[in-house]
Symmetry: C2
Subunit: 145 residues, 2 copies
DNA sequence: AGGAACTGAAACTGTTCCAATTACATAATG
DNA sequence: CATTATGTAATTGGAACAGTTTCAGTTCCT
């Protein structure tokens, strides 16, 4: 992990569903339509929506007139939850294990790891202040400015 | 970019130099010694130290008894500067370009990009509160806790 | 002067990760 | 029952990266 596009795709898909008012199965949006608005491949979208579904953010139904819809109001879906749903994180790399026996080589990696975790947490905290509804309210939205 | 180990390697190297009190050319530490404490390859270390050198954080001298040393006190080197020096960033992915002509497909990517940038900035701000000196002062250091 | 130690840079290799594609089983609609 | 769509698996091609090797240039020591 992780130069992945999962998070942007997930955020875009959720915002698109919100814009289409897909709040119930009868307003489901097919993965092909979501993919067309990125643009990307329908299978890529389904890989992401499957994860969002497991996280309880969206529902999906197979078959004719099927597709995905939101299970929560857009204001209630914050982007840190989306990031965790797709297993993403603000990856700055993984601290090397260090050398056993060397007091410096052992303790520094722990400190570096802690610093990376702190940065990761700060990014998640910032994303927690932004909801899917905010993404639609651009431009000039104070929450994403 | 960027599942890179550059940032952890850079942070480890700087902390190691600080621990060795390598503050002048006559106390230079060879890339082989730095690499041995990670552990990793000397060339990998040199690729990173070259970037740190261009950023003005360290000096390096070739030849016998050569190596790298710090140009600034450890307390004056914050980790956000280190991250920028190695061209790293808290990458959450790149927002897809969107589809022209579709008002939704065009505006959502901008909003997603803005959200990613906000998270990136928050991570950098957090790293700015941690110095190389803090990495050595572990454990229980409030700046990295 | 000559040898040893070291950086810096380039080229190459093997691995890993990812987007995209293809294919197929399953499920729901009409 | 045909159509539409999800979900999953396998495969392909490309990009990024760590590690290695090699070489030229630099500096120290004897």
């Amino acid at each position: 992990m992780s130069d992945s596009q999962k998070f942007p795709v997930a955020a875009h898909a959720l915002a698109y569903l919100a814009h289409k008012h897909a709040f119930s199965p009868d307003r489901a949006v097919a993965s092909a339509e979501l993919a067309a608005s990125m643009p990307t491949n329908p299978v890529v979208v389904r890989r992401v929506t499957a994860m969002l579904g497991k996280a309880g953010l969206i529902g999906a139904r197979a078959g004719a007139n099927g597709g995905a819809w939101l299970l929560k109001p857009p204001e209630a879906i914050t982007l840190d939850v989306v990031l965790r749903a797709v297993n993403g994180c603000a990856h700055l790399g993984v601290a090397p294990p260090g050398v056993k026996g060397c007091p410096v080589g052992e303790k520094i990696p722990d400190a570096v790891r802690a610093a990376i975790t702190a940065a990761d947490t700060a990014a998640a905290d910032r994303l927690a202040q932004i909801s899917v509804a905010d993404l639609l309210a651009s431009p000039g939205c104070p929450a994403v400015a």
